[in-house]
Amino acid sequence: MNKPTITKIIKTQMETKDIKTLKFYYPGKMSPGQFFMIWIPGVDEIPMSASYINKEDKGITFKKVGAATSALFKMNKGDKIGVRGPYGNGFNIKRGKTLFIGGGTGIATITVAVEFAANKKFSSDVIIGVKNKKELFFENRLKKFINKVYVSTDDGSKGYKGFASDLTKHLLSKNKYTSVLTCGPEIMMKQILSACKDTQFQASIERYMKCSVGLCGQCCLGNGLRVCKEGPVFDGKTLKKIPEFGVYKRDASGRKIKFK
């Protein structure tokens, strides 16, 4: 039923100064790219992609940005959270060579997808992009299951200097990929989409969410596409028809907020 199940945090992990992973007991199957609604009683309920998918437990990895993520950030082993889901479609990960691109906290979502591909022995490269190397996480985890982990930093403090989208363009021109799967800032993803000529494209989109079961309409984009249900992963063909992709999202009230 779509109401929070109370569960306990069984493990925590600091990834960077302000990025943390919480693992909690939550049995069941799910796909990379699917997400949960995480209830922090008395604070808020927010969408969070799975960053770890095991049979019995799941993990989320998030950045401290506001009230809810700060409350989560303070949590320790044994603390209770409410979880409902998994929701959404998740990535469609297929045979062939895939280029995964994770930007910022999108790295969390991309990493389980890469792990899934590696377990299936699909070939893949991955780019993880952050502003500064201090914000980098999951690099070592990724290296455990694939060879090519490219890093980009806006300030050049590690790896490629520049945006992940630029590094992507570079790799696309050099190598042949069957598809590109990405999660990160929407402007980045939009740039990547325009760089993908024949390469199949999937991006995981974030919108403000309330019900997450396709009822309230809060998360819609384009012609009533529900990010919580038909998404959060959309393919390039769909996204190309959505004028607002990479341009604006809506806040909790439904007002348009331009991406910067």
């Binding site: 309409g217 012609n223 439904g254």
Partner: protein
């Protein structure tokens, strides 16, 4: 093929299924999708003068028997909503603009705007069960209901419907007040005030604690309200609450509804529930030799 066309005051619909306010109606794209799924009309989210974020999450949870929500009337404000109305009205569809305010002046201002944007009718939300100063706090006071309705009606040309709540001692009385205020129709019912406590957390789950109950469970309450209102009023009624099948819709029609709205049913039967419900109504009518839906309106009153 049975004739499903219906009329609510001067508003003509191809079929009696309407998208209920507050679901999939924040933007033109969503409403367009619902029209494409077969709805005879759509109602917008309830819009106020200023933008509101609504309550923090959790705002929606599923129960064994329905859904509970306390959105808190989130909306971008009437000014920002203009482009959505204009955009949806580019396609040939029937749009009912829902508005909420705390007094006649606000309702009138909102109604005039909606009319000027191109809405085909107005729905005055006097029935939200969980927003302080709005909704049922107004809709339980028959004097206020009459006053607001007649104030809006005096200056508005499109049909005006008043949406009522079952959370009152006597819904007939309130409906009669709306009729005296010259309402063109009544919409019943909004969600039923309710609560879910999580016993592990030992607290209500919804951030607002109180919420509104919708879905299957409230159908018997909604049907009762429509039946009660139909017994004492002459203006048309739009039935809403827990409709998921053609049979449910027919139950409302027989109780006295000229059209129905569907909200939570979208969860139970996906977004093309509007097509499905119409198909089921059509099938039942064919089986029972009913040519026009209008033959069935109110037949349960002997």
């Amino acid at each position: 093929m049975a004739n499903l066309a219906t009329k609510i005051a001067s508003l003509k619909l191809d079929n009696p299924t309407i998208l209920a306010s507050g679901l999939m109606d924040e933007d033109a794209g969503s409403m367009k999708r619902i029209i494409d799924c077969g709805a005879g009309a759509v109602v917008t989210k309830s819009i106020g003068l200023k933008s509101r974020d609504g309550y923090p999450n959790p705002t929606v949870i599923e129960l064994e028997t329905g859904f509970l929500n306390a959105m808190g009337l989130p909306n971008p404000g009437i000014k920002d909503f203009e482009e959505e109305v204009k955009k949806i009205k580019q396609s040939n569809c029937v749009l009912i603009g829902s508005v909420f305010g705390s007094n006649s002046k606000e309702f009138l201002e909102l109604g005039s705007e909606m009319q000027s944007f191109g809405a085909d009718a107005l729905e005055l939300n006097m029935s939200c069960p969980h927003a302080k100063g709005y909704g049922v706090e107004i809709g339980s006071d028959s004097k206020l209901v009459k006053e607001i309705t007649s104030c809006v009606k005096d200056s508005i040309d499109i049909p005006v419907f008043v949406k009522l709540s079952s959370n009152v001692t006597d819904i007939k009385k309130i409906a009669m007040a709306a009729e005296k205020g010259n309402a063109d129709g009544i919409v019943a019912i909004n969600t039923v005030k309710a609560m879910k406590i999580d016993i592990d957390i030992k607290a209500p789950i919804l951030a607002n604690r109180y919420g509104g109950y919708s879905g299957k469970a409230i159908k018997p309450i909604g049907v009762r309200c429509v039946f009660e209102i139909a017994e004492s009023l002459d203006i048309p009624i739009i039935g809403v609450g827990g409709i998921t099948t053609g049979e449910d819709a027919l139950e409302y029609v027989m109780a006295g509804a000229s059209a129905v709205q569907i909200g939570t049913g979208i969860y139970y039967r996906e977004i093309d529930i509007f097509n499905k419900v119409c198909q089921e109504m059509n099938m039942w009518m064919n089986d029972n030799n009913i040519k026009k839906i209008s033959e069935l309106i109110g037949v349960a009153h002997k």
